[in-house]
Symmetry: C2
Subunit: 420 residues, 2 copies
């Protein structure tokens, strides 16, 4: 029925003691950023807990990893430190532990109501890579652009395809997204036009956050890869389809993506997700040995996208998908990423690619949901082919436990008109 | 005939007073990194000059930008600070200025023989983008892979094509490069194989180093773009052609590039390059207004690639090219990069793409020089289709002035066997 905390955790909360996701926040506009975990409707300030000497395990006792403006140092410490922190915090927050429960002064310093906390990007992201790991997404996009015969390229089934994304324009949930301007091309031999994107889309993704990295030239074995992944976030890889379609041959997406990518503030750890692990799909053809893992795991994470159309009060669910639909696992993604010797650094993120399920109601972007704008989706009284100015897109994701949820909160952004 | 310094500047030096390129070095293995300029066969330690109060102009007088382990803070200050530093240093190092010339103690602290200085990556590189701006390179690659009819995609003449590269694996000249392993595909329907790359190549490039960046959502006008570029470096975008060919459809190069990218240690400023500016090629079709610049400038920089084959003492020039062959200018690249609102940060780099000239002797990579391995190039008694273990590749680049050179030094790397 779930662990019991002295901090109130509403029944539908994403943040019970079983979760304890990590973020970075400011309690006041001018205070320095500090690490936190979420519990119920509160954030627990880890710099306060550390300063009070309450991280008393062997690894964290003398560490300054929670007196930092980001989580990178904690992430670098690896799974033993993460497990120690989790055990310490679950004990400290439990209903039966008096240390924090019975100290009004410590509580008032350490526990901040969530609506008073300004959440920030929790990590310094050195590099951001984006994969293409949902077969349904690959098939739909391929069918739309190349027809059903050549929908999926032969390389797709042999390796987790990915491209480098733009790190500088990754923003935290709640940041407005300005509609990008750029070049696009109608059809045939007409010259390209320039202007605000007419085919602005979201992409429902999650991203793995890298813990300890690797040295340049030293790949990470696929069976060790999980130890290099701290956790997951929700990610919206905003995409301007018209810009992307015109620019992407032969070097891949660039300005069609780099105007903004939104991540959720809370990193849910693999330890918290472990009870929700499930078998990944059987891969056929079987992967080459460097991608063959002893156990091939996905996670059962329900995902939902809502759009709150410009000028309306209501939000409308426009797709429901699940992380478990991914063909390539995050451990295969990470092992593949390093097989050439490429070095990962703590705080790097690996996007999964758009997570589409098999049914049309589970497609992960408007390109697929409207079949490239042909079939508008309805949002109450209105419809959408692509996103309009003022639309707010909200992702949520959670795992359903026995009497509790392990959730990600939301990942949202509103479209502002193009600058002139 | 050139400015005169009290520091000896050999006639063939790349580093007279007219140049003063910026780098970061360590005088001893355990000393902290500090900024420097190169002059003759010496490096001038700017942290010493700053601490002695010799940066006495209005902008730099009270700045700690030279008491930093990298140049990012100085780069952020923008062109007025760069011009002030250049004027101060040219005066301080001139033959007629006694301040440094006549102070043995200051000289011994500030001037370090170049062969005693360990050069480091001079900047923290948040994001690295790589363009595709040489028409000859685009045409050759297109002809090799798709045949002469469709050699250059229609989008190429409308926008400076680029992709995001990997920032983590950028290394300083002199760092060994481990041959990457990965998947490749022979031909037809046979399954892919896995192993050390059999088609390892260099790419002769230069890269622009970003000075002041821009806010997310606020593009930089093409006519202001030069103020956002501090200078240029030589860059070798090592490429595994077999890995690249198998993976790059549809999302572009990934593991075929991300195992290592080498940059030269000295950033030559646009101010030092200004005397060598020349007209960029006429663009036809004319670019869209956001890419149309009042003056469209290239620089006359002679580039040369030498290979020192494994086990040999001699090096062999295998190509000679020039920066002036670029079709898209670095200011167009930068303006295009931000037109969708993408934010640049100081220290970001923009690779030009392989700089191939019109003649076969000026092609910028082995893929082109050997026409995809068909025509081996000779290196004295031996030949090469692609790079072999032990080969060292050395780039040099310089501008020829009247009685002096403004040069980049070298950018080199040696291939080590794949790890097993
Ligand atoms: Ca994506
Ligand atoms: Ca390149
Ligand atoms: Mg994006
Ligand atoms: Mg490279
Ligand atoms: Ni990056």
């Amino acid at each position: 029925m779930g662990l019991k905390s002295f901090v109130e955790v509403p029944a539908d909360s994403h943040f019970p003691l079983e979760n304890l996701p990590y973020g970075v926040f400011k309690p006041e506009p001018h205070s320095p950023p500090r690490p936190a975990v979420a519990v119920g409707n509160h954030v627990l300030d880890l710099s306060v807990i550390a300063s009070a000497g309450l991280f008393d395990g062997p690894i964290l006792k003398n560490s300054d990893c929670f007196n930092q403006p980001n989580l990178n140092k904690f992430l670098e410490l690896g799974r033993p430190a993460w497990k120690e922190a989790r055990a310490t915090l679950q004990k400290l927050l439990s209903a039966t532990k008096p240390t924090l429960r019975d100290s009004a002064s410590l509580r008032s310093k350490a526990l901040v109501p969530m609506d008073k906390a300004q959440m920030l990007l929790p990590i310094v992201i050195g590099d951001y890579s984006d994969f293409f790991s949902s077969m349904h997404h690959a098939k739909n996009c391929g069918t739309i652009f190349r027809g059903p015969e050549n929908a999926i390229n032969p390389n797709w089934f042999q390796l987790p395809i990915a491209y480098h994304g733009r790190a500088s324009s990754i923003v935290i949930s709640g940041t407005d997204i300005i509609r990008p301007r750029g070049q696009a091309h109608p059809t045939g031999n007409s010259p390209p036009y320039f202007g605000p994107s007419r085919r602005l889309d979201f992409e429902l993704e999650m991203a793995a956050v890298v813990g300890p990295g690797n040295e340049l030239g030293k790949p990470i074995d696929v069976n060790d890869a999980a130890d290099h992944i701290f956790g997951l976030v929700l990610m919206n890889d905003w995409s301007a389809r018209d810009i992307q379609a015109w620019e992407y041959v032969p070097l891949g997406p660039f300005l069609g993506k780099s105007f903004g990518t939104t991540v959720s503030p809370w990193i849910v750890t693999l330890d918290a997700l472990e009870p929700f692990s499930c078998d990944a799909p059987i891969q056929n053809p079987p992967p080459l040995p460097y991608l063959a893992e002893k156990t091939s795991k996905n996670y059962d994470i329900s995902l939902e996208v809502l759009i709150k159309p410009a000028g309306q009060e209501d939000s409308f669910v426009i797709t429901r998908s699940n992380f478990k639909h991914l063909y390539w696992t995050i451990t295969q993604q990470l092992a593949h990423h390093t097989i050439n010797g490429c070095n990962l650094r703590s705080g790097d993120i690996l996007g999964t690619g758009t997570i589409s399920g098999p049914e049309p109601e589970s497609f992960g972007c408007l390109l697929e949901l409207t079949w490239n704008g042909q079939n508008p989706v309805s949002l109450g009284a209105t419809t959408r082919r692509f996103l309009e100015d003022g639309d707010e897109v909200v992702f949520t994701g959670f795992c359903k436990g026995d009497g509790y949820n392990v959730g990600f909160g939301t990942c949202s952004g509103k479209i502002l008109p193009a600058s002139t």
